[in-house]
Symmetry: D2
Subunit: 363 residues, 4 copies
């Protein structure tokens, strides 16, 4: 109800503000006896970590996660995993200028109106610091998904007007982690990197798009009507800070097509010759790759002074200072993957409650 | 869990297949003492009804809704409203050819694999007939929302390549119901109508986009992190049959902008000079208009024969017959509005559980 | 949230007032491909039906249930089962005297204060007519449970001061349906029947206790901490109109025992020599019989005039008229079983989401 | 679903095992701007703390709670409060003898069968150490409830066969905290204390009953049908370790009464002359005191050797050692209050979503 819990069976509940003593959460619903490698969780956190390259924020956050429960002898017990990440780099004084002022296109104003007791330091609960919690949850979900054939790969498909021109099956996913932008086309990645640096020099920011491909999905995941697989993915993706849009399969482009072009013709094995459907029909996975894109606006915090208003509704100036991302998409790639992993893990478990699936060997 | 319930407090649960004896549902969570006009519910159903114009399916479905509970002396009692719409025009024999065959880009195949007891008649539970239930729920939500300043207007913004060029504030919403396409630009509407008729003659279908504007929204609706207002809207919209994408505010276009352009500068009263944010920050309404777009693929049922496979995974041909929509968007307009109304009503009620809001007069 | 939905995965949502046109509900979460015999549903309704014997209310309610969805060729489809029971015997005029008056120990007063638009006819939503919906849901759950070894038997263990003296393993459950009281001790049943008739002659009512035994339960059902098996059973039982208490295993009597007496010593096969635990440890089934008791107060509607107050908080007299049960427990036996079946079906499905169980063959 | 979350709007989610590094949880749904005194939280924890008197376990657990989020300048922000209690006194070696053995009437056996990766140290997740989390959640709920007239008082009403003979209105609640048993009748308390000491000397344990009185409850809290106020209280109480039964109002005793005796006659102000109903009708508070009793079995851990079985289903002996409670009820009093506070806070918030209540000034 209050929006701090994600998922139905495989659930992540989180807490924490940017400048509190710690953030953290509870992962529940992961079956027992799943091997958990904490190092892999930390590797995922490193992919999200500030300071990882020159095109992201230079803040230093060690992001050391500590699990307090739910694990025994290296495996899950079936009980909730409580975890915490200590906030070590809280320079609250950096934010004194935000105490009474509202930054444009940030949540400051609405938080203040809704709650009237706003922790203004670094955005408080609205800070993207929260996404570290999601990466922890996602990393556990990914380890659970190792017991299935499901694989998740996200990558940057556009930065500003620089867009990938190839469809995803022609891309080499191995290239994704080989460049700081996380774009699988290394030529384009270099251009994107240059562009982001240029934008940063201007004290400005720019938006972009992340595409995600989920392969190895068995037929039958997803629940019809109100819990469609793609609807849950859309909700998950629009949870991410700065996300403005979601499309899967043919997406917005598909609206210009005719049915005779768009329909995916079956092969005899049930796969389809094309995949405009994006791996989902009627909310349920078809066995083909699921692919979708997420639009991200330019980060609202820019390194320029901006006119704004304060709590008394008077004019004020927000100074452009601090350490921020000129473009959010490189660091958002592991976040997209994490939420996708949580959604997929959840639907794998929900699917087990269907009698017929069990009898027919679908898990 | 099984995807037949929508909403958190203001909830709609539904049942029914295309060719069962009836569809229906339960609306719960509507506060007591709200005046309900059943005629208005029927008017909304008429907006969704097949056969309403020459560019939609010519099936006849009277869609007479009967409420069994939850109303007393013309007002809600606070108890669940059970309702039912009898299926009067079930020609099950029309669907014998689908018993063992899977239509391309329909849910037939995945339903068969997931449940192994598929009601193949007219798509069964996956049929868009279900959306009549949503319109009933939405019509009740709309009547509840009359106690707030919230107004919801959806309209067709593109059909195939024919797109509205004006931003929504320049449009006359009065025009929406004056043409069968439900496009507020009457010139464009005529072109769209012609185009749809042409497509129908070809036995083909075409996609389109619906835009929705929610005005009069008080500051503070929506819950942060995992129940963001736009995330719930996205989930709702991707629930609609044939929906492939969602964007709000600047959307996908916004990914090409710079932060210095995109940021919405405040006026002294807390409103903003631009509204790239789309009326939502951090998942919470800003008081500015909420606007979003939903992409719809071309309808999968075309009036042409198509190669496909059957249950034995052998080749078969699906005949193009029956009465179907050449373009889904005109009839989807009231569906978009209905689900939006359900989301907004839900957040209005959730917001009441915040102490501070109550004290400060925000309901 | 609004209390009209029962269960987590195997869910029953209901609607309907005593004197509306119909009551009904939606059963969702039942796996697909389960054979459903509608006759068995009707038999269960007959066990709850008014007028079935001389010691229950002589109202006539045919209680004919109609399913509209979720069934195909005699088996579940995995989709929601919408059902309805038409109210045929609504004599609303019988209730005109209740329009402005509050009956003692009924929900009239609190409903009026909470909702301010009270359907006073026959108690409206608070009427035990609602329990017919539960019996329909429970009858479906019972049919699902046939795929497991779980068996549920409830019976009357006391009426007023007349109490069963034997522990349940010494009773013959075959006797339960052989007498109108539903007490398995036929001698005691005769005394109870006499006593209830006497009470009825006095225009009075009397309370009683129902015991329920669930056998064949595999080890491992139930979720620890906040969804313990016995906690969900307690909640279910206290949902029943007139229920005032719940105990399982040694119950209130066990509070006087010492640990050395109370502890259940294991046999080598994991069963226990005694079963003070009542078949549940730590919220999870042990494999031993689950047994519990439910206390019912005397029915509040008596055939005597009673002083009371009206809406204007003035003195009034409630006349003792109508057709009511002198003792609720005989007809509550199938209701106890129905809710128990719903709880057990739910936990069977929840349990499937535990990895280890699946691997080890526990369903 | 997995049983680690309590409540609907005012929610507590918990994690932690007896001998992990920490236990903790997340409290969400508390409205913003509520003053929180951490000292009061610690005082509640002290009431539950081991070693507080000679009749409870002599283990030392400092139970120092640390909040990481959700508070700003001494008041709630409306965001989740993450908290943690470090486990400082984990002597895991004490539990090596339990690694492969199942204690009688403990959760060892069922946990092992259900999860197959059991943290056996001190009972792991099934340990009553978890109840410290509940007391933290309850302490926050109590502070929220200060904005309402609701007051909660629990006390010990029986230990073994020693029972309070007076009804609660004749008791002095001030006496509760004046004796280590927490019985308001000081004479009886002395006898109970002596009896518990005697039981402890025998290396045995004994059960008891706790009664709880909730006063100052406005008319209208609770949701009908499946979320009745007393049904949620029953579920909450049966969540507590060792709880075997629940009754409210006239309870099991009321089953022997006649309707003419049991019915509560109204006073003109809507209060009633008697209160057999226990302050609840139809699941909704009447404005009269809510009172209920909870039965607790004797603690299963006794200081005697007991025959049992091990993982290989061979005979073994469980040694009676460690530091345990001879009687659970004195320390369970704050636990009963805490869960009651969580239930009441939740219903206060749920009630705000009813239109009519708001208009009529009921919160």
């Amino acid at each position: 109800m209050r929006g701090n819990t994600f998922g139905h069976i495989f659930q992540l509940s989180t807490y924490g503000e940017s400048h509190g003593s710690a953030i953290g959460g509870i992962i529940q619903g992961c079956p027992s006896n799943i091997k958990i490698n904490i190092e892999e969780v930390k590797q995922e956190l490193n992919r999200r970590r500030p300071g990882q390259s020159k095109i992201v924020t230079q803040r230093k956050e060690p992001d050391d996660v500590i699990f307090s429960s739910g694990l025994f002898e290296g495996k899950t017990t079936g009980f909730p995993m409580g975890f915490q990440i200590i906030n070590t780099n809280q320079k609250s004084k950096d934010y004194d200028h935000l105490k009474d002022n509202f930054r444009p296109s940030h949540a400051d104003y609405v938080y203040d109106k809704k709650y009237a007791n706003r922790d203004y330091r670094g955005g408080g609960r609205s800070s993207a610091r929260e996404t570290a919690n999601w990466v922890v949850g996602g990393a556990i979900a990914k380890q659970f998904l190792k017991s299935t054939p499901i694989k998740i790969n996200a990558f940057v498909s556009s930065v500003g007007h620089l867009k990938l021109s190839m469809p995803y099956p022609e891309l080499h996913f191995d290239n994704i982690e080989k460049n700081p932008v996380r774009c699988p086309d290394l030529n384009l990645a270099t251009k994107m990197e240059q562009y982001i640096k240029e934008i940063r020099k201007q004290g400005d920011t720019v938006g972009g798009v992340i595409q995600c491909v989920v392969s190895g999905v068995p037929v039958g995941l997803g629940e019809p009507i109100f819990n469609k697989l793609h609807a849950e993915l859309a909700k998950a993706m629009l949870t991410i800070n700065a996300a403005k849009g979601f499309e899967y399969g043919s997406g917005f482009e598909g609206t210009t097509m005719k049915g005779s072009q768009h329909n995916d013709v079956f092969n005899l094995d049930g796969s389809t010759k094309t995949n405009h459907s994006g791996g989902i029909q009627g909310g349920i996975s078809t066995g083909m790759d699921i692919y979708f894109s997420v639009a991200f606006k330019p980060v609202a915090t820019i390194m320029r002074n901006q006119k704004s208003i304060n709590k008394e509704h008077q004019e004020t100036v927000i100074q452009g200072k601090g350490r921020h991302d000129p473009c959010v998409v490189p660091r958002a790639v592991p976040i997209v993957e994490s939420l996708t992993a949580l959604v997929m893990a959840d639907f794998v478990l929900i699917n087990r409650t269907h009698q017929e699936n069990l009898n027919r060997g679908i898990q």
